[in-house]
Amino acid sequence: MDATIAYLLTLAVYYFIFNIQTWGLNLQFGVAGILNFAYIIFFAVGAYITGTFALPHADPFSGQTYFFGFALPFPIPLIAGGLVAAALGLLVGVIALKRLRSDYMAIVTVSVGAIVYDIIGNYFPLFNGQDGISGVPFPLQTRLGLDYNTYQWFFMGLAGVIMLILFLIIQRITHSPFGRTLRSIREDQDVSEAFGKDTFRYRMIAMAIGCFYAGVAGGLLIEYISAFNPSGWTAGETFVLFAALIIGGRGNNWGAALGALLVPVIFQEATRYLPQFPNSDTLVPALRNVVVGVLLIVTLWFRPQGLLPERKAKFPKVQLDAPENKQEEADVALG
């Protein structure tokens, strides 16, 4: 296969994965107003669970140690990855969402992120520590008997279908009365509580669904690249996703998809093979982060709602029972 095509295929799969991630974050942050700075943790947990559910039992001679090793067929590991991430999301939610306001909640998520990162990175029996896990089998490859190149196309299609299904689901949630209540909680939690909404429960559900999306995205990544270690999910990755969402347009799943294309795919991945500056091979990666930061500031300054802002809710057209007779009266009263 042509190297350029192979590269574009890889970028496409990454884009699909980033989309799933930003949609989950959008439900939490864009729609429900939950500041979850540990979002990447749920992505990582999804990846590890998917990986270790798909890998066979840890072979003592392979040099890898990890839990599970169930050698389960696709798509069970992927779904398990999403579910475990969601369960972890609920656990964090119990701590962070029960009594804390958004700023304190954000601090809790940062701490949780650091704790989970350090445990996974240093406790080798869990997911092989800093070395990470590798050799995760490609889903359905042996069953389909495809060669490597054809399989790349197959995987892109598979990831695309999963992304599409998840898109339809998240769109339905966002624009349902459930999503409306989440938005109301984002706008003013006290007022929604005063209208009888169990705001904690709503936020927990948003947390779980968002983390499920993160987990599935992580699972897809490890099934695609077959290896995963802590360098792939540093705390900074969360901020790349936040930048994508803010630049693309929070509250709008199309905006999230645009942001995922602009920030992680074009700025982060597509610039990976730019020529290096002589004797300073870390300059380009550093500049990349600078560019994302500048882009974020420019967006917040000139278009704070993002490139594709949240749209006004649409409602079915209905005929009024009474004629519109009160308008004049109101205009008089309002001066």
């Binding site: 689901i169 339905r172 949630i173 349902s176 009365p177 459930f178 409306r180 209540t181 938005r183 109301s184 706008e187 003013d188 006290d190 007022v191 929604s192 509580e193 005063a194 209208f195 009888g196 909404k197 169990d198 705001t199 559900i205 509250g251 949240e310 006004k312 809710a313 409602f315 079915p316 209905v318 005929q319 009024l320 029972d321 009474a322 519109e324 007779n325 009160k326 308008q327 009266e329 109101a330 205009d331 008089v332 009263a333 309002l334 001066g335």
Partner: protein, 270 residues
């Protein structure tokens, strides 16, 4: 608590039933060592408009927060509709039909006026994700009913033309109207209005007063904090005066006006 209707400038019918919908009994609420409310008791008769008045710092807003469950009940007892609110979360109290508003109007700014009104209805089918995915026809049907109800409500409150505007773009007076219209979408048994007319011009205050009286005609009970005693005189059957965290006096506005302790509390004495 017998309202002397003939003495009021505008005749107001006495409360339709005698049973109180809300009983506040010996409530005390402390912030640290300071008692914001100190052994305060009063009742709100079903179907009445009751005004809660008193000088600044009397504990009125604290009382609203305790009744509505925003502050936990520390001491004393509060019965709404015969049941204690002790230990209930704010949303559970609201689900029983006690809906409050806030002193500063708090709209859902980034949502349209119509969407603001679509939030309060309780137990919406579409708030359950199972229904959203597996019984979408029920959700669609309910949405249509709610939109109709919301548009009628906006029409009543003169906000119909603004239905597609963001709530944050409304003027202060329009926000007050929105706040009341939105609270009514929750089908309350009792409304707890925290200064519904703060900062509005006299013409609009009269209009809001008219709305509140219309609500009473529909069987709602209203407890409102209000500083404009002219309005209180006009629409409230019962008045509860609070000062220094406790009930200073109860009665009709006419009775209250001649109460020496009330006069001294309002003039800054006591």
């Amino acid at each position: 608590m017998s309202p002397s209707a003939e003495a009021q400038p505008q005749p107001v019918a006495p409360a339709t039933t005698t049973a109180p919908i809300l009983r506040v009994e010996h409530v005390t609420h402390a912030f640290g060592g300071v008692n914001a409310i100190n052994d305060c008791s009063f009742e709100v008769q079903t179907g009445s408009i009751t005004a809660l008045i008193g000088p600044n710092g009397a504990g009125k807003s604290t009382m609203v927060n305790v009744i509505s469950g925003f502050y936990p009940l520390q001491q004393g007892q509060i019965l709404f509709d015969g049941q204690s609110v002790r230990g209930l979360a704010a949303h559970s109290i609201a689900q029983r039909g006690l809906i409050r508003t806030f002193q500063i109007s708090r709209d859902y700014g980034a949502m349209t006026v119509l969407e603001n009104l679509m939030v309060p209805p309780k137990h919406q089918v579409g708030e359950n994700l199972f229904n959203v995915f597996f019984r979408p026809w029920l959700v669609a049907r309910e949405e249509k009913e709610l939109v109709r109800k919301a548009l009628d409500m906006l029409n009543t409150f003169g906000l119909y033309e603004k239905r597609e505007d963001y709530a944050r773009s409304l003027s202060g007076g329009q926000k007050r109207l929105l706040e009341m219209a939105r609270a009514l979408m929750a089908d309350p048994k009792m409304l707890l209005l925290d200064e519904p007319m703060a900062g509005v011009n006299p013409a609009l205050a009269d209009r809001l007063a008219q709305h509140i009286m219309d609500l009473r005609g529909k069987g709602l009970t209203v407890l409102m904090i209000e500083h404009n005693l002219g309005i209180v005189d006009q629409i409230a059957q019962d008045v509860v005066v609070m000062a220094n965290g406790t009930t200073l006096a109860r009665g009709t506005m006419v009775e209250i006006r001649s109460h020496p302790e009330v006069i001294s509390a309002y003039l800054g004495g006591a």
